[in-house]
Symmetry: C2
């Protein structure tokens, strides 16, 4: 059963930032990062939820500058890599330089699943700067395994250390994950990772399916804290890995204690699956659409979920939020 | 993809009873049952968490007699079967007669996975009384597929309408479910069902695996309300079924609205996976062990999870709660 080591990547301090409205303090970041490091996490990701420089009117302002959070975490992390997320178009190479100066030694450069080419220069810069560098494809449910392989190869050629696929909407079922991870493992020689969301209650199972197909980096968060319905719950996933005989290097009990004693008290609300996040996963759209959708639904007197399903059908992606009002108007006319 | 109909069995008013400390009122039972019936649920289960006559000092007293709850539900349910759970040894045929007189027309008779024979007379009585009758094996992670087939055949011979397998501790991963459901489907000709718990975050995935192996009755609860980490979240599972093209006869949106507007306000706490319930699933022990374990841990100054893991190793089953103190004492001596 056991095969090569499964590296656990914790993104509580990045994807979890969405779920606390970007309100992490330096003390909280240090406490969480120290606990993750002690528990044996391979890579600790810390940034605004939308990556470095995400703090803005568009994506929500951070309470504390992420550079200060990175520095606070960097002071306590001894073994783990300390990474940031960078979305080209939101963050820049200049932002990455600053993050590196403040203590980050890893970066994951993320693009929409069909836009890997916009990340080539960022990956190349990070590599020459000596950072551990990951190519990260988002919304991978929207592309075929063939397209994903094609796009991932752009990251490989740019010098990435591994490729991470994200089910950003929590849309996939295990067979969708198997098809994508399996195709990618067969096509490239660098490691492959996976990032789940729990909108359909399948985050742990999809992460397990990814491992079974050869993925060796798995994204988790403590208590599942994250956007929408949250992420793969780290302390749960590590227990499943341990049961099945996979080596993660993570001390499960320490991760459980961190989740319960440090992260849970920080959370603004329990990470459960309510109708809104279930519908995001069902429709396959970004969680950032939700607020706009609710407003448009109210304006035109229709149900938010009807708008979300229509957005999914039209394959709307991040940045097209202005179309939500149009969709709502059209749906209201049909009624 | 689509095959024969998947019948959704909702046990919010039975397994969910554990999670609200058996505090359901007649008004709540009627509101939930009416909503489930309207949404197209096949069978609505309503009883004390430990089955009819479970209300006791051992298992916790019900706020309102389950017979009154059954009657309240029976008055509003128009299409669904209305069922009770009966654990021989806790409930009797006399109790079942009363439940039938008050409105139940279905019963699931549940035993430990190796003790099907103690249910033969109850199943036979229910069948001759014209009830829809289910043979229900609990703690099926503790037995091999071969043993499960052997035990299930006792229920089949007694006249059961279908056989339900329960992962009572939330211990299984999808391949465990596939092995058991697959073996049972191959061996018997009546339908097979599955009941999940979410202790390892796998309830929805395990239910999906069961369906893929041919199970056609799946237990769910609104919001996952249930013992330990809760059950398969019904509104989420139905959305997954709909996405994959399975016919359930359930209106997903109505089930979502019921969960959000009626069940969530009744809940005492969110149904999340905390350390205690994670450890129950990891160790493979009953959630009823938890209270005793916490007390024994405090008495002997050891961690509850160390006791739970040892109980799992010793394959302790319900009714052996008195052994918990012995285990705690022995562990404290080893320290």
């Amino acid at each position: 059963m056991a095969n090569s080591k499964i590296n656990i990547v914790d993104t509580t301090l990045r994807d979890g930032s969405h779920a606390v409205s970007h309100s992490f303090t330096a003390e909280q970041a240090a406490a969480v990062a120290a606990g993750l490091d002690k528990a044996g996490i391979e890579l600790i990701e810390i940034s605004h939820g939308d990556g470095i420089a995400g703090s803005s009117i568009n994506y929500g302002f951070s309470k504390v500058s992420e550079l200060d959070l990175i520095e606070a975490a960097g002071k306590v992390v001894k073994k783990a890599k300390l990474g940031v997320l960078l979305l080209p178009g939101i963050g820049t190479i200049e932002d990455l330089k600053e993050a590196r100066e403040r203590g980050a030694n890893a970066v994951r450069v993320a693009t929409h699943v069909t836009e890997a080419d916009i990340a080539v220069q960022h990956i190349a810069w990070a590599k020459q700067a000596g950072m551990f560098t990951v190519g990260f494809l988002m919304m991978t449910h929207m592309a075929s395994p063939e397209t994903i392989v094609e796009q991932a190869k752009i990251f490989v050629d740019a010098g990435a250390d591994y490729i991470n696929l994200a089910d950003s909407s929590g849309y996939m079922v295990p067979k969708d994950v198997r098809a994508r991870i399996g195709a990618l493992k067969a096509a490239i020689s660098i490691p492959v990772g996976f990032h789940s969301h729990n909108n359909l209650g399948l985050a742990v199972a999809n992460s397990l399916a990814a491992v079974e197909e050869g993925a060796s980096y798995i994204d988790v968060t403590c208590r599942g804290l994250g956007a929408g319905a949250g992420n793969t719950q780290g302390e749960v996933f590590c227990a499943v890995m341990e049961r099945l005989g996979y080596e993660t290097g993570v001390h499960c009990y320490e991760l459980m204690d961190l989740a319960e004693n440090v992260v849970e008290p920080i959370m603004l609300r329990p990470q459960v699956i309510r109708t809104d996040s279930l519908m995001l996963g069902y429709a396959g759209v970004y969680s950032s659409f939700l607020l706009h959708t609710r407003k448009a639904a109210e304006k035109y007197g229709i149900a938010p979920r009807d708008i979300l399903v229509e957005l999914g059908k039209r394959r709307m992606v991040g940045g097209q939020e202005d179309m939500i009002v149009d969709v709502a108007y059209q749906l209201s006319q049909k009624k």
